[in-house]
């Protein structure tokens, strides 16, 4: 039945009212003429209401002449009449077409470039490379050559092991994977020196090739030559350049300082809370209610709820609920001994992060400085490590 109703609506129909005395005769004639008429309803003794299609309504005229009754269109329904109305309001139609056009036009540009996965290389650097390949915010998305841009990125930044470029709507997503920066490979026959990578006290020098210029106990600074590749020979005049190789072990020092107040303020919830809502449309936020928080000290909790999310469409409308919990600030004096311990552990942990893998810990020194309200912990760790680094001899 619904299908028939929709069909009738699409074709358009007229609700007619027939006025007369011999309405039964009218109905019989309609049936005889094969005019489709439906939902016949008696309104009054002399009036009958019925629905009839547009073509049927036109062919009713002959019957009206025969029966001598009055037929008039009471209401017009359906798509054809709606279209007729639209013809009168041309500007509405034009506006709709312009609206569709604008949406189509705006969605054919890239409005945002998102770069994921890069740690060492800056977003701006990647963006600049993309810009050279004519990919930037505001470019037509049909013009983008993804494969070419991908190759260029891989070529220009050699630390990228993987690059993918995807267009999602108006967003361009560049996903990269970085590999560790490879050590500068110096081939065996290019002359080079071995220089200090960091400051330290020399413990042991193993020169496999070249001549060591430092000895045990020397204090070297960063960049100082440890094993030189320039060998001056007494027998020859001039210098011989070799590829220096070897390991230089030195004691280096790592320090880390942790400052911690002895008196600590602890926030305790009192149980009072205050809620405040905001509505977010895209990036615009509309606030409702007053934003005055009746507490002096409070913790803020923010919860964001996406209201209209029907996968895979995500409408940028959401409700943000701010919950303010009243807190009471209490000052607590901490146990100095346990504080010392925890600070030390923390500092050692920090140092461990920067220690090279092949280093050996030689000594560890911890200093505490206790002020009125502050405890400063200094941890000094001395390790033995290889500080040699190859450097090409340049003139």
């Amino acid at each position: 039945m619904l299908a028939i109703k929709i069909w009738n609506y699409l074709r358009g129909y007229v609700i007619i009212r027939i006025e007369g005395l011999t309405l039964e005769k009218f109905l019989n004639l309609v049936a005889k003429e094969n005019i489709y008429i439906w939902d016949i309803r008696r309104i009054d003794y002399t009036i009958v209401e019925a629905k009839v299609s547009i073509e049927g309504f036109k062919s009713l005229r002959n019957i009206v002449r025969k029966v001598k009754c009055k037929v008039y269109a009471y209401e017009k329904r359906g798509l054809p009449f709606l279209m007729g109305k639209m013809k009168k309001r041309k500007m509405l139609g034009i506006g709709f077409i312009i609206f569709l056009g604008i949406i189509f036009f705006l969605t054919s540009f890239i409005w945002e470039i998102e770069i994921l996965g890069n740690e060492k290389i800056d977003d701006t650097k990647i963006k600049n490379i993309l810009k050279e390949e004519n990919i930037y915010e505001g470019v037509l998305r049909y013009k983008i050559d993804e494969d070419n841009a991908k190759n260029v990125l891989l070529e220009k930044i050699n630390t990228f092991s993987f690059v993918s470029i995807d267009i999602e709507g108006t967003k361009l997503i560049v996903e990269v994977k970085e590999q560790d920066i490879p050590p500068e490979n110096i081939s065996d026959d290019t002359p080079c020196n071995i220089v200090a990578d960091k400051k330290g006290i020399i413990k042991k020098v193993i020169a496999k090739n070249g001549k060591s210029v430092v000895k045990e106990g020397d204090v070297v600074n960063k960049g100082q030559i440890l094993i030189t590749g320039i060998i001056k020979n007494d027998r020859f005049e001039g210098e011989m350049l070799v590829h220096a190789e070897g390991e230089v072990y030195a004691v280096t020092r790592y320090t880390h300082t942790v400052e911690e107040p002895i008196e600590k303020s602890i926030k305790e919830e009192t149980g009072n809370s205050y809620e405040h809502r905001e509505y977010k449309f895209g990036k615009k936020i509309i606030k409702f209610g007053s934003a005055d928080i009746p507490f002096k000290e409070y913790i803020e909790e923010v919860e964001e709820n996406n209201v209209f999310t029907i996968e895979p469409f995500n409408f940028p409308i959401s409700i943000i609920t701010h919950k303010y919990k009243e807190v009471e600030v209490k000052k607590v004096k901490q146990n100095v001994d346990s504080l010392k311990e925890s600070c030390q552990v923390l500092a050692v942990k920090e140092i461990n992060k920067v220690l090279p893998e092949d280093s050996k810990i030689v000594s560890k020194d911890v200093k505490y400085i206790e002020n009125e309200d502050k405890l400063t912990t200094i941890v000094i760790i001395e390790v033995m490590e290889n500080i040699g680094k190859k450097q090409i001899i340049t003139y």
């Binding site: 039964e24 019989n28 049936a31 489709y36 439906w38 939902d39 309803r41 008696r42």
Partner: protein, 92 residues
């Protein structure tokens, strides 16, 4: 003469097991509950009001009484009536 033809038709349909509504052009009424009635082989509406519909057929006039009766469709062969049907009656 007419009566004779009618009798012959009845006998024939009985002998050959043909449906009588086709052979004798008799009305066929289908009622769904008390809300819908369809009548095939009608010979025109005699009276139509909200409470009474009288339809002419070969078996006489069928009188349907009820409340808020609506003629859903009317075709050359069939009439469908909806509404609350109280009574279906043959007047001959």
């Amino acid at each position: 003469m007419k009566e004779k033809i009618k009798d012959m038709k009845l006998n024939m349909s009985e002998a050959l097991e043909l449906p009588k509504d086709i052979v004798m052009d008799l009305p066929k009424i289908t009622v769904i509950g008390n809300i819908e009635l369809s009548l095939l082989n009608h010979k025109g509406i005699v009276e139509y009001t909200q409470n009474v519909i009288r339809i002419n057929t070969n078996s006489g006039v069928v009188k349907i009484t009820g409340e808020e009766l609506v003629i859903k469709t009317i075709l050359t062969e069939e009439i469908i009536v909806t509404g609350l049907i109280d009574n279906i009656e043959f007047l001959s």
